[in-house]
């Protein structure tokens, strides 16, 4: 993986000094809160309900053992001993003091971690396919390009005061694992017939108040022009995106109002006028970055391991773990291990400092020192030798992280909601905990099969509710928590926005409503059909009838 060199390290040192000075000016009264707020946000510091929250960037979701361990240390030293992994593959600490921020930044910078541009109206931390470098389908390692973009977008003088926040994701496999169409810019790597690398560019997706799936504005952008083309998109947006209404300031509104074709035309015109050679990173630099993402030294191993097969036969929990959490690796004899942060009853995405330490140990010992964050708020050990799988399983089990529920009902995405977030209208975590607990039984969960439930505590949709197979949105009805349920959404290859089923449901009745939806699915499904496919086939009526039957 990419390790920060002396230049990157000096950038972090200088950044820490800058932010330390900005905090000093604010506390001394030399800046108003209004002037300071965008500065602290661009350093990932929010004022939440109970304290400051610090959002730490995890570029392309990739962490070394030392970095993960340092996050655990930061959480233990300056927070309450846990952190919350997010749908943007970052980590949030909930109990931060502003006066500690300089020390925290300094500590993190030692291992190449930072909070640069994790909030604010700038280009945010960029995400990539969580299985990059480990899956067989990808046409290239997208992290090479994301790292080039990370550098380009960091402290970009022209694009740090955009109309609104800006999120970019890059996938590299035909099977989209980045939710590219719900991003401001989503990209998918492709290889042209002549072998040249490039990107399909989608612009103007997003959730929130007005959800859109981003249209493709260019089928094939030659990879070497990535940064100049991004510059053109950003410039069109920076100049013409709306600034008069915060709810209409995202690029999706500009793209929708101009139309994808006209937006694309403006981008192309700007791009043609740019000095591309000055902006695009030279091949040598791409090669340098690429070398840092070279595959680890995989051994030649048999594709089937007898000890693993024997343990699968002997241990049902292990067999379930293999079935649901373990994926094929591009190299025979290796696997991708998903680490569920969704043990039923726990807070989705939360991880304690002790767990971070233990995962770091496992990554160092069995996983070529690499962990990933998945936007489903889980972690990944991307390169585990099959022969080490029993030991990794045992290690995860020992820290309560071997729940075999990836993709199942209890693998719920939930934002922090009103338990922490200053913007929330309702809680999200307790709703997730209750649903997950009700469907914790493995037999029940396996019978239901793949089901993606996503919960947001407000319309900003950090919990991606629009693209949940079942989406749940918290709303405030005269001081009571109510939840609007939608069905049929997806952010992946079968991207679609969910349909709202009807009036919002009172908090205490939500889990029953979810059960009614699931029972309807069981009644209506054909053999092997997923929940979302049954819904898309039979439509809203039976689901709606089941949920609202009691009420009438």
């Amino acid at each position: 993986m990419y390790r920060y060199d002396a230049f990157d390290a000096e950038m972090l040192q200088d950044r820490t000094a800058e932010f330390t000075d900005q905090v000093r000016r604010r506390v001394a009264g030399d800046m108003t809160e209004d002037q300071f707020k965008p500065l602290r946000l661009m350093n990932g510091l929010y004022m939440q309900l109970h304290a400051y929250m610090l959002r730490v960037a995890i570029p392309y979701g990739t962490l070394s053992g030392a970095q993960l361990r340092r996050l655990g240390h930061v959480a233990r030293t300056w927070d309450r001993g846990f952190g919350h992994f997010t749908t943007r593959t970052n980590i949030q600490l909930n109990w931060i003091k502003l006066k500690d921020a300089p020390a925290i930044l300094e500590s993190m910078a030692e291992v190449g971690l930072h909070a640069i541009q994790t909030s604010g109206n700038c280009i945010r931390n960029i995400t990539a396919d969580p299985y990059a470098g480990a899956n067989a389908e990808e046409v290239d390692d997208p992290r090479v390009w994301v790292e080039a973009m990370r550098q380009w977008s960091t402290f970009h003088p022209e694009f740090s005061y955009l109309p609104r926040k800006f999120k970019i994701a890059i996938g590299a496999a035909p099977n989209d694992r980045t939710a590219a169409r719900i991003y401001d810019i989503g990209m998918k790597m492709r290889r042209a017939r002549d072998g040249k690398l490039g990107f399909e560019v989608m612009v103007g997706g997003g959730l929130g108040r007005t959800p859109y799936l981003g249209p493709t504005i260019r089928e094939f952008l030659p990879a070497e022009h990535l940064l100049s083309y991004m510059t053109a998109i950003m410039r069109v947006y920076n100049r013409h995106g709306r600034r008069d209404n915060i709810h209409k300031a995202r690029i999706k509104i500009l793209v929708a109002s101009l139309g994808a074709e006209e937006f694309a035309r403006q981008v192309e015109t700007e791009w043609e006028a740019l000095d591309k050679a000055a902006i695009d990173v030279p091949e040598a630099e791409i090669a340098r970055i690429r070398a840092s993402f070279a595959s680890p030294a995989f051994k030649t191993l048999p594709a089937i391991n007898d000890a693993v097969e024997a343990l699968k036969a002997a241990s049902r929990p292990f067999a379930q773990f293999v079935k649901h959490n373990v994926l094929a690796h591009k190299v025979p004899g290796y696997v991708i291990v998903n680490v569920s942060l969704k043990a039923p009853g726990e807070v989705p995405g939360d991880c304690t400092s002790d767990q971070m330490d233990a995962i770091a140990d496992l990554a160092e010992r069995y996983g070529f020192d690499e962990t990933r964050v998945h936007f489903d708020q889980n972690l990944i050990l991307p390169h585990v030798a099959l022969e080490d799988l029993p030991a990794v399983y045992e290690g995860l089990r020992a820290i309560g992280l071997a729940t075999p529920n990836i993709g199942l009902t209890s693998d719920i995405i939930a934002c922090p909601g009103l338990d922490y977030c200053a913007l929330a209208n309702a809680r999200a975590i307790p709703v997730a905990q209750e649903i997950a607990t009700r469907f914790a039984d493995m037999e029940v969960a396996e019978d239901i099969g793949e089901l993606r439930i996503k919960i947001s505590g407000c319309i900003n949709a950090c919990g991606h509710h629009h693209v949940g197979h079942i989406g749940i949105l918290g709303v405030d009805k005269k001081g009571e928590e109510f939840y609007q349920v939608s069905l049929g959404g997806s952010g992946l290859e079968d991207a679609r926005l969910g349909d709202i089923i009807g009036p919002a449901i009172a908090g205490p009745k939500v889990t029953d409503a979810i059960e009614a939806l699931i029972n309807t699915y069981k009644k209506e499904r054909t053999t092997g059909e997923r929940f979302v496919d049954t819904y898309r086939r039979v439509g809203l009526a039976p689901f709606k009838a089941a949920v609202y039957a009691e009420a009438h």
Partner: protein
């Protein structure tokens, strides 16, 4: 069921240096809601808010909240403000709720009521 009357105001905000939820009370900012000054006259609350705003290096975005009496205990009217006064409902060992006491217990037991008017105005202003 105890009688519910909505008639009081309090002033709250988060402290600049550490983000702590604080309430305007006797002798300045206090960390516990039971120590908050309660104003029966909205004009007094406004005056306290003005005083709070004069202290921008101590407090961030102070605002007025509604407080009602549940029986003898004052309770923030909005759910959001009750969460602020207590701590996250998912971690009962964190935040101010860990200290306990009759007023905090009354807040934890309270339900219903409207959103924080003060906060809504603050959001609209932006």
């Amino acid at each position: 069921m105890t009688a519910t009357v909505s008639l009081l105001k309090a002033v709250t905000g988060n402290r600049l240096a550490d983000g702590e939820v604080v309430f305007w009370g006797e002798g300045g900012w206090r960390e516990r809601f039971p120590d908050a000054s309660l104003f029966a006259d909205p004009a007094d609350a406004d005056a306290a808010l003005d005083a709070a705003k004069a202290d921008p290096t101590v407090i961030v975005d102070p605002y007025i909240i509604d407080v009602r009496l549940d029986g003898e205990f004052p309770v923030p009217t909005s759910f959001r403000e009750r969460v602020r006064a207590l701590g996250p409902t998912t971690h009962l060992d964190m935040g101010k709720q860990a200290e306990g006491g009759p007023i905090l217990e009354a807040i934890a037991a309270a339900s219903g009521a409207a959103r924080s008017a003060g906060r809504s105005n603050l959001i609209k202003k932006r």
